[in-house]
Amino acid sequence: MELPLERVGSYVRALRAALDALAPNEDHVSLSASLDHLHALDPAVGGSLLLPAEVSDHTGMPTYQWLERARSEAVLAARGTDDADPSDAELERASALDPELGRRMRDRRTLYRHLRLAELLPATRLGGAVRRVGPGGWTQIALAYDRMAPDGRWVRVRVELKTPGPPTGALRLDAQGRLVIDEALKHLFTRHFSTPLLALRSQLIDALGAEVLHLSRGWTGPFWFPGVELPPSVPTALGQGLLLHASIEIIATDVHTSKHLDPWEPPPDEIVPEGQGSFRERRFAASDERLAEAVRDWSASRGVRAQVTTLQLTRPRRL
């Protein structure tokens, strides 16, 4: 769906406020990148430069192509500097010649200046770091794969793994001991980021020959608001305000007691590896207390006590 111009600013600010209220942790895509990226989409920053404002009909999240426009502008912004941007006098001269062109040039300058400092969400990105190296060369490695999912939600797959000896193959260390990740591993994540967590764990063990200590997948979204098509099983009351979901699935050695706190997804039929536990949770940010209550009631009807935060449409804080 394409948002009308007058709704774009309020949509972006509401989603930012909801994210800020949920304050997702490192199992989700970076909060600061999410906030910065959304701020770039705000017409208060870039005017109409990044329009049309398209959001997914089903998840209410900004579409890949809308987000990508900000990333493309960031590439162009990085080629210049604030000092080399058009001066106020140049903008005034352009406005005098053509007010619309002048406005667009001013919007572009504001957008570029924001983008030069901003951290943005990647379409796909795999990063990692060495946590620890032990006797015999065993290495504990942290990986994070971020993606704008095809349905518009944002996902992070986080892995903590331990190699039996010095890492080889798709993961290795350079002369300075820094982690080098083969592009092939990114391809593997892109192919399997949404497969069931246990199957993904098996793929990683097969591909890397390492022990997977922690595997999590954190989803940001959907974002329901009037106009978004809710799934058939969801009461319509849940679509009558602003409601952002943040869900997490974890299979890890440090989960000692398995728990399922997701009212949306039923508990999967799975056998968690010995010595590990699974944890699933879905949290919500609701625009008002009445909606929060409706979410709690719906969750309770599905046997789960929901975590609901009400959002404040004020200036988001930065973590």
Partner: protein, 339 residues
């Protein structure tokens, strides 16, 4: 001579005219530099597009190969398939990954083209402003030329009257004659200067107009390209996002190929545009530059000669001719002809 018409604009002197000439040449040089810079940007977009197209072709071949593999029903393919299917998961590439990277590149090019289109528009507007300024200055120069011509003729008449006026004492006659001769020579110089100013404007209007039209054409073509490419790229983006979840299933290969085709179409349109406009600029700019330079030098040399050769008889003839030409200009202006 109390009801006489006044000169418009800046009081003209030889130094002022030379300064104006330098300013016009400088503004033109700056505009040429700006357009050349735009051309460099455009060439860069062209180079990047060319590399993007090469990548697209490679990906297209890869997709073709995959499709061929999936649909290969030969005995050998059937025998080999179970073994190839067991290849390491790491050795397989993700089509979605490749498409996303490609989309990113195309999207950057498109945003660049959009910003570039605004630069072209600003440049065209500034050049139009220059054309407007030259027309205004030409108008002023023609008006002032007419005023100067009328004054020269009035002073000539006054000189004749002084010579014929027997009632004047010889001293008064001599004083008036000196005064009128001085004024007549001053106005004669003004007449030459305004004539040169008008000529300067006349000479610079066509190249300024040609430069403006060149940039305007570039802008129109770029704006048209951006409009059509935006639509195509957005369509490709929707398809790529929608298919991402299934991007590695063979069933979607055909649809992915369509996404690639859409991106390819957008990039080829840009490549065509860049080639066309590069040719236009490469042809037009050097010619305009050389013409402006040659005409500036010729105007300056002619003015020096005119000023050196001013005498009363020549001024009177010139003033009469100027008034005739001014009358002719007015008629042409009424008929809607360009100066």
């Amino acid at each position: 001579m109390s009801d006489r018409q006044h000169y418009l604009g800046e009081q003209l002197s030889h130094a002022v005219l030379q300064r104006r000439q330098r300013e016009v040449a400088e503004r033109h040089r700056r505009a040429m530099g700006q357009v050349s810079e735009l051309l460099d940007n455009q060439k860069q977009i062209g180079r990047e597009l060319s590399s993007g197209l090469t990548t697209l072709k490679r990906q297209r071949s890869e997709l073709d190969r995959m499709e061929q593999q999936e649909t290969d029903s030969s005995l050998l393919a059937s025998l080999v398939r179970p073994f190839t299917a067991r290849r390491s998961a790491l050795a397989r590439r993700s089509i979605a990954e490749g498409l996303l990277r490609q989309y990113e590149q195309v999207s950057v090019r498109l945003r660049e083209a959009t910003a570039f289109s605004d630069e072209l528009k600003l440049c065209a507007l500034e050049l139009q402003q220059e054309v407007d300024r030259l027309h205004r200055e030409l108008g002023e120069a023609l008006h002032n030329q007419r005023v100067a011509a009328e004054r020269v003729l009035q002073l000539e008449e006054a000189l004749v009257e002084v010579d014929e006026d027997a009632s004047l004492r010889p001293e008064e006659q001599a004083r008036r004659r000196d005064r009128f001769e001085f004024d007549a020579r001053t106005e004669a110089v003004s007449l030459e200067l305004y004539k040169a100013a008008a000529e300067l404007c006349r000479q610079h209007i066509p190249p300024a107009r040609a430069l403006r039209d060149t940039v305007l054409q570039l802008h129109e073509e770029m704006a048209q390209y951006v409009l059509s490419a935006t639509h195509t790229v957005n369509a490709a983006g929707r398809r790529i996002q929608g298919l991402g979840m299934l991007a590695d299933a063979p069933i979607v290969v055909q649809e992915l190929q369509e996404s690639l085709d859409e991106l390819n179409l957008a990039m080829e349109a840009t490549a065509d545009y860049v080639e066309r406009s590069s040719h236009l600029i490469a042809e037009v700019l050097p010619h305009l530059s050389a013409r402006v330079q040659a005409e500036s030098e010729a105007t300056e040399a002619a003015l020096e000669m005119e000023l050196a050769a001013i005498d009363r008889e020549r001024s009177r003839v010139h003033a009469e001719r100027t008034l005739r030409e001014a009358a002719q200009d007015e008629i042409e202006s009424l008929l809607g002809k360009d100066p």
